[in-house]
């Protein structure tokens, strides 16, 4: 029997892990279907694509924050690095001669397609995480959060000054518009599967153990630094891919595109949905996107009963702040908390211990009732 469940505990075995991954993919599928329907309306096309990219971004953020418990203010830096690396990689050689005449030889002479550009964006961001992580991941709590904000400030300023590579504070333009509906939502599916698999893997388990009790995790032989670092690198990769998608959607952007406003957007989406889970990340992105777009419409004026109503401009951004405050007051763990959509292959045992259940206590567990092998093998 196959059924859908919304639960926050871990799947007990390999089959359960596949089910949990399938559940997350199913949630992504629903989002994709809705996006696909809206995409048919011409005015909605860009919103639907931006929504998909934001969902990837929020999942990238969630992979780190949800598994390590450290609130990162720095993930927009990975998005920026992914956007610049992916964007420059994808730019046609002829355009590079005009837009970036001082680009170093090897970069100036190559151009890659859509998919390789995504991988370049993700890899560049992951590399940055791998280099900075060993220093940043030693910190915990607020100190770690502020340090990641420092990373964002540094990256933003380096991008604004590295003129031969980025055109400095000016807009980088000429990135080909390769991002399509399929491109975004196929990436979303891959990213969702990747992060669900990580969450339930041995590495994910160790990261969450460190999140809950670093001292006890260390006493069980877990390296605090290493377990956080894997989550950091994976989440940076995902965020970098989002950046590369973003670059190939907008085709022109500047370092300012990846700063505090973008950061607030990501945090709002993650907090509203619930930072503990992938399903929450998807839901939060959807809720904030809808609120944002509706208010933006109102900002530009909507006719109500024959009268044109204009909301004061900036209200959509202020609404983000209100949404954040309301969530933190009434539902601090987000709409879904740490719950995930999971596909279960059999109904869980009833809570009431029936006669069969009592008798079953002495019986060895069935063959499938075995935790994932990954939890032990590596390290």
């Amino acid at each position: 029997m196959v059924r859908l469940a919304l639960r926050s505990d871990s799947p007990p075995d390999l089959l359960g892990r596949l089910g949990a991954t399938a559940g997350a993919l199913l949630a992504a599928g629903v989002v994709t279907l809705l996006g696909g329907l809206l995409f048919l309306a011409p005015t909605m096309a860009e919103i639907v694509l931006l929504f998909g990219i934001n969902a990837i971004l929020v999942i990238g953020f969630q992979v780190f924050v949800g598994n390590t418990g450290i609130v990162s203010f720095g993930h927009v830096a990975f998005m920026a690095v992914g956007a610049y690396a992916g964007g420059i990689a994808a730019m046609p050689v002829l355009d590079k001669e005009v837009v970036l005449p001082d680009l170093p030889g090897a970069l100036a002479g190559t151009e890659v397609g859509f998919l390789p550009a995504l991988l370049v964006g993700g890899a560049a961001a992951a590399l940055l995480a791998l280099l900075t992580g060993p220093a940043l991941m030693r910190l915990s709590g607020a100190a770690a959060s502020i340090a990641t904000l420092g990373l964002l400030i540094i990256v933003s300023n380096v991008l604004a000054q590295a003129t031969p590579l980025t055109r400095g504070p000016q807009s980088l333009f000429g990135v080909p518009e390769n991002t399509t509906f399929i491109g975004v939502y196929a990436s979303l599916a891959v990213v969702v599967a990747l992060s669900a698999w990580f969450k339930w893997s041995g590495a994910g388990l160790r990261a969450r153990a460190v999140r809950d009790q670093p001292a006890a995790a260390e006493a069980a032989g877990v390296s605090v630094l290493r377990s956080r670092l894997w989550a950091f690198v994976l989440s940076a990769f995902i965020t970098g891919v989002a950046g590369a998608l973003y670059a190939q959607l907008l085709t022109a952007f500047s370092p300012g595109s990846f700063y505090i406003p973008q950061l607030v957007l990501v945090i709002a989406m993650a907090i509203v949905g619930g930072v503990g889970g992938i399903s929450g990340a998807l839901l939060g992105t959807a809720v904030i996107t809808v609120i944002n777009e509706v208010l933006r419409k109102v900002e530009s004026g909507v006719p109500i009963a024959g009268v044109e109503i204009h909301a004061p401009s900036g209200i959509s951004f202020a609404a983000l702040g209100v949404a954040l405050i309301l969530m933190l007051r009434w539902r601090p763990s987000g709409l879904l908390g740490a719950s995930e959509v999971q596909v279960e292959t059999r109904a869980p045992a009833p809570a009431e211990a029936g006669p069969a259940r009592v008798a079953g206590a002495a019986v060895p567990p069935v063959a499938t009732d075995r935790p994932p092998a990954e939890a032990t093998v590596e390290e």
Binding site: R208, Q213, A216, E218, A219, P371
Partner: protein, 255 residues
């Protein structure tokens, strides 16, 4: 405790120098900015032995456990495990070489399930313990029924058992139990007593127990060691401990 035995661990060769104790702390000194918590304390623990560590509040018992587990570094002295010097080894490294512990104040992974908590403990094993052993541990500690529950939702006594299961999952050579009976009722304490016996006899673990429940400590220990102001003031048979004037004086504060 249920009838199911604690799964037997792999048999270990005692290693070089069989009569040498498994764990030996020599002349441990630990200072906290002016306060000397450990003042040249020694400790020896053999495989298959239960050692009770007692002493008045503030005598340095938990500090000594923290120094052995690696949560704290000693300022002077030496710690050897199976003949190897681990004085400078990291906490994670010590866990992997076979030192497991529980905490005075429970330190469980609160958002994780019971099974996940125990699985993290498996991380400390050198690879010989298997996932089947985790299932065996869950069974023998009567945690099977709650294996999928989030651990912070469970009762205190159950959480204590989860912590012990997590420590055992790594198949430790040395098990440090810091006040394992704190907060347990009489029935649970009796269970704990039996469990410690099983751990010792079936796993061949060296077990160090700190507790304020003297019935428990004197009842289960092969040997006790009394700490006072960071020094060992008695070491020997449990029943003799409170016949020592120094020990009585330390507890009652008499001169």
């Amino acid at each position: 405790m249920s009838a199911a035995p604690v799964p037997a661990s792999r048999t270990r060769s005692p290693g070089p120098g069989t009569d040498a104790p498994l764990l030996r702390v020599t002349g441990a000194v630990k200072r906290f900015s002016g306060l000397t918590a450990l003042d040249g304390a020694d400790l020896a623990l053999a495989a298959g032995e239960v050692l009770g560590l007692i002493g008045p509040n503030g005598s340095g018992k938990t500090t000594l456990v923290n120094c052995v587990s690696g949560a704290l570094r000693i300022d002077e002295g030496e710690i050897r495990l199976g003949g190897r010097d681990i004085t400078r080894a990291s906490r994670a490294r010590r866990a992997k070489s076979g030192i497991a512990r529980t905490f005075q104040n429970l330190k469980l992974f609160g958002e994780l399930t019971v099974r996940e908590n125990v699985l993290v403990g498996l991380n400390a094993s050198s690879g010989a313990s298997s996932l089947e052993e985790v299932e065996g541990l869950l069974r023998s500690l009567r945690l099977e029924e709650v294996a999928r529950e989030i651990v912070s939702t469970l009762s205190y006594g159950t959480q204590r058992r989860v912590e012990i299961a997590r420590a055992l999952a790594g198949d430790p050579r040395v098990l440090l139990l810091d006040e394992p009976a704190a907060g347990l009722n009489d029935g649970e304490t009796a269970e704990l007593k039996e469990l410690i016996h099983e751990i010792r006899s079936e796993r061949g673990c060296g077990v160090l127990v700190i507790d304020h429940d003297m019935n428990l400590v004197l009842g289960i220990s092969d040997r006790v060691q009394v700490l006072d102001e960071g020094k060992v003031i008695y070491e020997g048979a449990p029943q003799e401990a409170f016949k020592q004037p120094r020990v009585v004086a330390a507890y009652l504060g008499a001169e």
